[in-house]
């Protein structure tokens, strides 16, 4: 009977080679928004062509398959360490097959482990499940986009950002400007308001698990997401930073309670190739969504 090794491998294969339809749809909208004959439009055409080829061949959309981050919801009775070991094995197999690039480098010796397994690799976050299904969200996020992440500590006089929602928006606009095309624009932003330094960054990353067509239940944040998308796109950075109207595909904002002395705004920048998939296992039957 198949288990988490086989299911994990299929989850990785789908995440790496089969772009989620919600992301593809927004890329297509961006492509239609760029005038005919522009490099911006040609770039988005190439991206869409690459998405189709990768899906057909089951090959990685991007050679930088990033660091593997799993968000696992486990019902009572499962052994987290055994699930982690199975996911590590799935990663070793995926690397051997060329679904993942070996991306695990020792920071002191420079040696690559060659199999994507290392200290805190893969990164696995465990949480108790609220029902009896196992849910595993996988995010493959490349290094170039990870490097464009940013954290602001408000107030920040250099961008006239106070400790309020206007200050949050200023931080995001500044971060998108700094990123230019470096994170493989058009990008998707996960934003977290509040938290401590570490938690806030993870909170921002978790926002990237949201589908692009979902609606923030908080009307204040829903409006902020729409406004930030529009204002960031008005900067004209465009696909790959070549100029154009499609700089971002989406903005997702969440929050955490903060310490009275700290007001962090954390931004996770994800490239257009937002490779995320979800594995659900219920009554021994697995499905990748």
């Amino acid at each position: 009977m198949p288990g988490f090794v086989e299911w994990g491998l299929e989850l990785i294969r789908r995440a790496s080679s089969d772009l989620s339809p919600d992301v593809e749809a927004v890329v297509r909208r961006g492509r239609d928004a760029e005038p005919e004959g522009t490099t911006a439009r040609n770039v988005l055409d190439s991206i869409l062509q690459n998405v189709e080829m990768s899906r057909a061949d089951a090959t990685p959309i991007c050679q930088d398959t990033g660091l593997t981050t799993f968000f696992v919801h486990l019902p009572a009775g499962y052994d987290a360490e055994s699930v982690r070991a199975d996911l590590q094995e799935a990663i070793r197999l995926a690397t051997k097959e060329g679904i993942l690039r070996p991306n695990s480098v020792h920071p002191i010796t420079g040696k690559n482990t060659g199999d994507n397994v290392g200290v805190d690799l893969p990164h696995v976050e465990f949480e108790p499940a609220t029902d009896d299904a196992v849910t595993i969200d996988l995010l493959l996020k490349g290094g170039g986009s990870e490097n464009c992440g940013a954290q602001y500590r408000l107030p920040d006089a250099s961008i006239k950002a106070g400790r309020d929602l206007d200050g949050v928006e200023r931080s995001v606009i500044d971060a998108v400007h700094k990123a230019q095309g470096q994170g493989c624009a058009p990008g998707i932003l996960g934003v977290c308001i509040g938290g401590d330094r570490a938690g806030s960054y993870m909170g921002a990353k978790k926002q990237l698990l949201r589908h692009l067509d979902d609606v923030n239940p908080d009307p204040l944040l829903r409006d902020m997401e729409a406004r930030l998308l529009e204002r960031c796109n008005s900067m004209g950075i465009g696909p790959m930073g070549f100029g154009g109207v499609t700089t971002l595909l989406g903005v997702k904002v969440g929050w955490m309670h903060r310490h009275p002395a700290s007001f962090f705004v954390s931004i996770a920048y994800c490239c257009w190739a937002d490779r995320r998939r979800r594995l659900v296992v219920r009554d021994g039957v697995a499905q990748v969504l």
Binding site: Q49, N50, P60, D64, N103, Q180
Partner: protein, 196 residues
Amino acid sequence: MGKEATKLRLPASEDALRALRIGDEVLISGTVVTARDMAHKYMVEQRPESLRDILEGALIYHCGPIMVRDGEGWRIVSAGPTTSSREEPYQADVLENYRLGGVIGKGGMGEKTSAALKKCGAVYFHAVGGAGTLLAKRVKKVREVRMLEEFGVPEAFWVLEVEDFPVVVTMDSMGGSLHREVLEASAQKRKDLLGL
């Protein structure tokens, strides 16, 4: 922009490279050699003569590909560009020392590299970031690999024969830079948005 793509065969003459301008879409055929962070540090600090045979007249490609063993050789699976700005401290020196035709990467590079392109008659070509499968299909042959053991798969020098490899000129040999232009225009927009 949007006009017919120019075909460029490597090694290219200085005239052919000097004729290219930012915004030109180009299809490249010939030898490109992948080199990223460890490789650039190595080329500048050790200045190895042993690389001259693969680099002269070729293009350096900022790329860490996915490669799979295929009998005695290698099969290239996914091979888009990586962010070039990390090589900014090294690129000018590498361009001059190894007489490259230029560089393929993404995200653009800074003023030091721009000056070196002007001096050497070389060009910075931008490939579409994330188009790993599409670009790997334009690699016709994996000729050889160097420093694989020392650097690992993503960082090794992979010598690739490409055909009609699609790129856009974003930094030319006249000092032009599309990245500088977009940065300046968007900087003004940022100021307006923030009321600075």
